[in-house]
Amino acid sequence: MPGKSAKKRSELSNKERMALSFQEMPLIAPEERIKNFEEVPIGYSLEEAITEAKRCIQCKKPDCVDGCPVGIDIPAFIKLIENGDMAEAAKKIREKNFLPAACGRVCPQDKQCQAVCVVGKKKEPVGIGNLERYAADYERQHNTLELPEIPPSTGKRIAIVGAGPAGLTCAYELCIRGHEVVVFEAFHRAGGVLVYGIPRFRLPMDIIDEDIEFLEKIGVKFVYNMIIGKILSLDDLLEQEGFDAVFVASGAGLPKMLDIPGVNANGVYSANEYLTRIYLMQADKFPEYSTPLYQGKKVAVIGAGNTAMDVLRTAKRLGAETTCYYRRSRDEAPARTEELEHAEQEFLNWHWLANPVEFIVDEDNFVKQIRCEKMELSDPDTSGRRKPLPTGKFFTEDVDTVVLSLGCDVNPMIPATDKGVKTNKWGIIIVDEENCQTTKRGVFAGGDAITGGATVILAMGQAKTAAQAIDQYVRN
């Protein structure tokens, strides 16, 4: 009897819930997946999703919600999944986060909601990210997404600079408040890092395309090939083009380079260049697509953050023998745990505690070797961090491609072209944290532009704060 079983389900005791074991996310086998760009995690089955949902003990005061930068009502959506009401679960998430399919895949839950989940104190925490992804995918596959009711136009116009997660979120939030929103994007495609950085095997392209389509349907306008600062200045937008406010979400696009000999050798790329060539310009399909990529047989990746993992796994998929060089140890690697684990399954080489000091080139300036100094970790200093210390011992290895994944500084275009927008000494755009207002009237900013390279969800959180402030600003 279905009624009875439903009742029984809701009557699970905490003890019974705690007894259930964590549902591992099924993955494509490493041997298989390194041959192509298919998405690696397959996603939960219905059964797995419901079982995992049952593991949530539905805390009265859920810590996970506080752990979520946009405050998704996590127990509520998990309960809906437990009850089999997937469409409603997705709707619940969308109340706070309009990019659930992307966030379910790329958010560092291990440092956010799942890190504080009560269940995690004794066992593996509830797989919140996996469940978020499940609900979002259900919605996509079954077309249950409903367009939100858009209030009558307020007649106010807002310009958004940059179509990354921050820009898209702000566009959405302002659109559903009845404002007219135009997004200006420098590239020919919307999505920001989601399309030119994060690989397809972690975040399939069609997910972002669907999100953009959704925004277009509710009335957000996109204009491509528009570098704000060059083709139109902030003043142009505010004074000539009739915008009442501007939201700057131009991201962290300035790659950090090493200052060592050989850094400008042929075959030495920034992660941005490497990933942009492949994912935005589709160099992996060269020569059908014309953008070339000089892809060697031995690829060295410097760094161990999310970006480094993405480059390592991309290079592997393009057939190279791939090695990671990082000056600290594995424990300090800044990548998401899951990313690091997935990478470790993919037959890569790891040189922990290795600090590159030179890229050795041949007579044509092509990189041939990498020379590193071995490092050791200091005892924790007063700040509790263990610093890498040089040992005076060196080693050299053959390589023919090097990708520097050392993070990015803030995109300098906007502050460089508008003196009213002030930055701190690291080039980060200064804002009032309460409302994301910059030092220029009518101009707000959010995302990586005000933090330096961070995460999708933080960018979205700031965009929401900014949207609220912009809404108030233009109404007054």
């Binding site: 007219e180 306008k221 090939n225 528009m226 004074e239 920034s270 260049e273 942009t276 070339p292 000089y294």
Partner: protein, 543 residues
């Protein structure tokens, strides 16, 4: 019959409002009036327009009724009415004007006739322009040139009447009747009057511009200018320097919201990137004019653009060799170097490029130099030096252009360069034109001949730029070069375009493309340009 007419006329002349009213009733009853009688009646009826209506409240409606009767008489009375109009006072001018205008097309020729005769009589013209404002027929557009002329008059009443008439016609007639030229003229003339010293003229100008906008006769750029002007008038532009006349502010305030709520449609930002013209300069090298109004508006000498010609292609950086801000067009020279540039050179007039971004990079280093400036171009660089040469010359420097090529038929863009420089010197390796040898030979000669050379700009193949720098380094002549490093995004986010300047890494697309040539590591640049030689060959093979 004559008697009836006479009595009516007498009654009309009386001081008694009731009698006049009766007489007007009688005029209305009349039929089959002779032309002479019509004129006689009209001349009596027009007298009513001049009557002082102070203390005679009925007078206003009587004058209106008189006007209505006159319009029944048709075109025979027009010459008389126009004669009357020329000297009329303000009150009667309105009645007469309306009465004439109702007769429509027939009135146009006589009006123009009188206009020609009275051209020197500003008072007459003031009244004529007022009358023209009442017309509702397309034929009145024949008089528009006169109206436009009058709008520029120094007489403020004439000018404000004319601008008003323009606005009225715009509001009443179909927008299609106004062609591009007329639209532009009406906008320019009215816009110029926004800063007239008389508030009446400013007010009429602000109103007429508003009507032009309402009828959709303005381009987006014109709308933007108007919006900026209105904002200045009402003091919304942050300068706190608003128009001191309430009537002007009032007009601006009325129309400003319309400009705002007609949101610039996104189409305004969509550029077609259509090829407007294509011209072969020499084998495998073509000059293109491309539609890209937003880019054209912002371009400055030394900047470049990136074209992605179609969905599958890479992004190709190209220098700009000219632009036309009004036409919204940009000019580039494309040399077939490999797969993508060959594909681009197969495109024809009418084809559109998929994407173009720009303007990219910083403006060239230009200022006034006491000594001579030498701009040196090789290959596509010959086009690229033209805008900078023009700027240098405009700032008062003496500019000599030098162009080098292997032989005569590979010399390109010479006429355009000559227009931008004081002098142009050609060099060819085989001596088929100009000096035999390299651009450096010409430069040596110039350094010898000129009193002083202060500045050199070289754009072209790397070996050429390097040779120029080697020549100028020992003698300390400031030398700028434009570095064509390989690029991907062109906005400073990938680092593909890294160059070493004085030992420091810079991004050519963002910090450049122009750099101090004496500090450039050319060897590295040359080698980095060869990064993809193998891949480029492969790409060509499948083409």
């Amino acid at each position: 019959m004559q008697k009836i007419i006479d009595t009516i006329i007498n009654k009309l002349k009386s001081e008694d409002e009731e009698l006049i009213s009766l007489a007007l009733d009688e005029v209305e009853q009349l039929s089959d009036i002779t032309d002479d009688d019509k004129i006689a009646l009209a001349s009596t009826l027009t007298l009513l327009f001049y009557r002082d209506h102070v203390g005679m409240s009925e007078m206003i409606s009587l004058a209106n009724r008189a006007e209505k009767q006159i319009t029944r008489f048709g075109s025979v009375v027009i010459p008389f009415l126009i004669d009357e109009l020329v000297n009329a006072d303000a009150e009667s001018c309105a009645h007469l004007g309306r009465a004439i205008a109702v007769n429509g097309a027939d009135a146009i020729a006589p009006l123009l006739d009188v206009w020609n005769k009275k051209r020197a009589d500003q008072y007459a013209l003031i009244n004529l322009t007022q009358a023209l404002a009442y017309f509702r027929i397309p034929e009145v557009l024949q008089t528009l040139p006169e109206i436009l002329g009058a709008a520029e008059s120094d007489n403020y009443q004439l000018s404000s009447n004319a601008i008003n008439a323009m606005g009225k016609l715009v509001a009443r007639l179909d927008s299609n009747l106004f062609d591009e030229v007329l639209r532009q003229q009406m906008f320019d003339i009215s816009f110029a009057r926004l800063c007239d010293s008389r508030s009446l003229v400013r007010m009429q100008a602000a109103r007429t511009l508003g009507k032009l906008m309402e009828k959709g006769l303005l381009t987006n750029t014109q709308k933007e200018r108007l919006r900026t002007a209105y904002r200045a008038i009402v003091g919304q532009d942050g300068c706190n320097d608003w128009d001191d006349a309430y009537i002007v502010r009032h007009e601006a305030k009325c129309y400003l919201p319309l400009l705002k709520t007609t949101p610039t449609s996104v189409a305004h930002y969509q550029q077609s990137f259509k090829i407007i013209s294509k011209r072969a300069l020499c084998p495998d090298t073509f000059h293109y004019v491309i539609e890209a109004p937003l880019i054209a508006r912002k371009l400055q000498a030394g900047q470049f653009i990136i074209i992605r010609p179609h969905e599958l292609s890479e992004r190709i950086p190209l220098s700009i060799c000219g632009w036309d801000r009004d036409e919204g067009q940009i000019e580039v020279v494309i040399m077939s170097a490999g797969k993508t540039t060959i594909q681009m050179n197969e495109m024809e007039v009418g084809d559109c490029f998929k994407d173009i971004v720009g303007p990219l990079g910083e403006r060239s280093h230009v200022r006034h130099y006491r000594g001579t400036c030498v701009v040196i171009g090789g290959g596509f660089g010959t086009g690229a030096i033209i805008p900078t040469a023009r700027d240098l010359k405009a700032l008062g420097s003496r500019v000599i252009g030098v162009v080098g090529a292997r032989s005569k038929d590979l010399l390109i863009m010479i006429d355009e360069l000559e227009a931008a420089c004081d002098e142009v010197i050609l060099t060819t390796n085989d001596g088929s034109a100009g000096i035999q040898g390299f651009v450096t030979h010409a430069l040596e000669q110039i350094i010898k001949d000129e009193k002083r050379v202060s500045h050199v700009l070289a754009i072209g193949p790397v070996p050429m730029m390097q040779a120029v720098c080697e020549l100028t380094r020992p003698i300390g002549i400031e030398t700028m070069v434009s570095l064509n490093a390989l690029m991907v995004d062109g906005t400073g986010m990938c680092g593909a375009c890294r160059v070493s300047i004085d030992g420091k890494t810079k991004f050519a697309c963002f910090h450049g493309p122009d750099f101090d040539g004496h500090k450039v590591d050319f060897d590295q640049l040359t080698k980095r340009q060869k990064m993809f030689v193998a891949e480029e060959k492969q790409a060509l093979e499948i083409l």
